[in-house]
């Protein structure tokens, strides 16, 4: 079941350097929301706060409120939260020593969930959802996850995240390291997945935000400048700075 996300006064620091200055944002359930903005504006830090990955960095701090559905993310252990709020990273990062099968099953296996037949089923379903099944079904346990192409690796990472059946899927520039064809495959995938999962996607690519996202948030220097329907942001933005960014006057 997809659920919404709500942040109130979310602030984040790296040491003494403040990266987010009080973000209030409501992400709708079962839709894709894009986070856009120039480099260093806090987009990645924002999504990394949502599954509490931010706090794994040395000297990092967070303040404010984050809710996933009804759940206060600080009321449960971070590892439990991360099983419900999955993440796909900028650079494809399959586990290099594991087979394709083990990569997808890793989240379940290493958390001690599921027996063998359940795992087989979940791995197949996740790979199908990630549109990778047909390409790898004959070499599931024979080939290393790292032997796939970059685009396949990223879909493998998506399958790996989906195997835990999360409620939310966070994607931190998931296509920025990929070629145009792989990118369009990932975008199609996001389009299909958003009916089942709430998706938050950080992107540098404004066309990509326009293609896949229902809502778009524009960040600048650690602040949320504008948040609205994607169409509205790209056609009639309310804020001058949003317009400047979208029309390429800076960033």
């Amino acid at each position: 079941m997809a659920v919404g996300i709500e942040t109130k006064g979310l602030k984040a620091w790296f040491g003494s350097n403040q990266a987010l200055h009080g973000i209030d944002l409501q992400v709708a359930a079962g839709l894709a929301t894009a986070i856009i903005g120039p480099s260093g504006c806090g987009k990645s830090t924002f999504v990394r706060c949502l599954n509490r990955m931010h706090e794994t960095v040395l000297d990092a701090r967070v303040a404010g409120e984050i809710r996933v559905g009804e759940l206060n993310v600080y009321s449960i252990p971070a590892v439990s939260l991360r099983r419900r709020v999955g993440m796909v990273f900028q650079k494809p990062n399959p586990f290099p020593t594991m087979s394709i099968y083990d990569n997808v099953a890793a989240g379940l296996k290493l958390n001690g969930i599921g027996n063998r037949s359940e795992l087989e089923e979940i791995v197949e379903r996740s790979l199908q959802q990630a549109a990778l099944w047909d390409e790898v079904k004959d070499s599931l346990k024979k080939k290393s996850g790292a032997s796939l192409s970059g685009g396949q690796q990223q879909r493998l990472c998506i399958a790996r995240a989906l195997a835990l059946d999360p409620e939310v899927l966070l994607m931190d520039e998931p296509a920025s390291a990929l070629d145009p064809i792989s990118t369009s495959k990932i975008e199609e995938l996001i389009f299909e997945l958003k009916s089942r999962y709430t998706i938050v996607i950080v992107t540098h690519n404004m066309q990509q935000a326009g293609r896949v996202a229902d809502y778009t948030a524009f960040f600048l220097a650690g602040a949320l400048i504008e948040f609205d329907k994607t169409e509205k942001i790209f056609t009639t933005p309310y804020d001058r700075r949003t317009e400047d960014y979208i029309t390429g006057r800076f960033g």
Partner: protein
């Protein structure tokens, strides 16, 4: 200068550099090949079945072997590995994954110091800490001395190899809600395993030939002994005693012992590598 003379100079420099690296490799390999082939020649002609099955005969009698020393060496090395590998790998994991800068620097410095301590001093330490308390020499005190010598090499190798595992792999694991300890055990250590094994085998090979730390710990024994609390024969000790003896027969046995020692090291290295390489994928990244 014309373009052809530049090309000529570049090619000459290329040939020169290649030749230098070939020569360097040859300089390293020559003594190794020389020692190994001499050892093989001398050792193979001196070893027979009795060498592997019998214990030493009394002075002056012909025949006998070093079976007890081979067994004793395996026992002592087993004890050393049981101490050195877990402590070394554990220290390396602590340094790479957990330690904050201050304590980590301290431990790193101490392992470097331990690495530089002469082996005879390690033997003395084991003597005063274990042998004196036990009131007699033993395999276990020898194992402790050798185990302590394995720790720094294994700890530093583990630390360096873990640091080479990209942050992105750790993040992938944490992002899946896998607890830190599980991530370290099943993913980070697994990725770094080939390098860690190299470190372990380096440490193992180094201590397998150590004689000094065993002189007043394992002490040596002319008879069979499998009790780790009792004095035990070891190949390096036996080789040492036989090689400086006045008997031609003992000299030959010392050669055979040296060959067996090298064989034990090589077989263990290959066996461990083979076991560790099964079931892993040679990833491209």
């Amino acid at each position: 200068m014309s373009s052809s003379t530049i090309a000529l100079r570049r090619r000459a420099a290329d040939y020169g550099a290649t030749a230098i690296s070939y020569i360097a490799a040859l300089v390293v390999l020559a003594p190794l090949v020389a020692i190994l082939s001499y050892l093989l020649m001398k050792g193979a002609t001196s070893s027979n079945l009795a060498f592997f099955t019998e214990i030493p005969k009394p002075v002056g009698e012909a025949g006998g072997g070093m079976a007890n020393a081979i067994g004793g060496s395996l026992l002592i090395l087993g004890i050393a590995s049981a101490i050195g590998i877990p402590v070394g790998v554990g220290t390396g994991v602590y340094l790479a994954e957990i330690a904050r800068s201050g304590i980590g620097r301290g431990i790193r410095f101490l392992t470097d110091v331990l690495n530089g301590v002469p082996s005879i001093v390690i033997g003395l330490a084991a003597y005063s800490l274990v042998v004196i308390r036990q009131k007699h020499f033993s395999a276990i005190s020898g194992g402790i001395a050798l185990g302590a010598m394995m720790i720094p090499t294994i700890a530093r190798a583990t630390e360096e190899m873990l640091k080479l595992v990209p942050l992105s792999v750790r993040e992938a694991a944490l992002g899946l809600g896998i607890p830190q300890w599980r991530t370290t055990l099943s993913i980070t250590l697994r990725s770094a395993l080939p390098g860690i094994i190299t470190g372990i085998m380096l440490a193992f090979s180094r201590v397998a030939g150590e004689t000094a730390p065993l002189l007043f710990t394992a002490f040596g024994n002319a008879f069979w002994n499998w009790d780790p609390r009792q004095p035990t024969a070891a190949l390096p000790l036996q080789i040492f005693v036989y090689a400086i003896s006045p008997f031609e027969d003992w000299h030959r046995k010392a050669w055979a012992g040296a060959l067996v020692l090298v064989a034990i090291i090589m077989v263990s290295v290959f066996a461990v590598r083979w076991v560790a390489s099964r079931g892993t994928f040679k990833g491209t990244s």
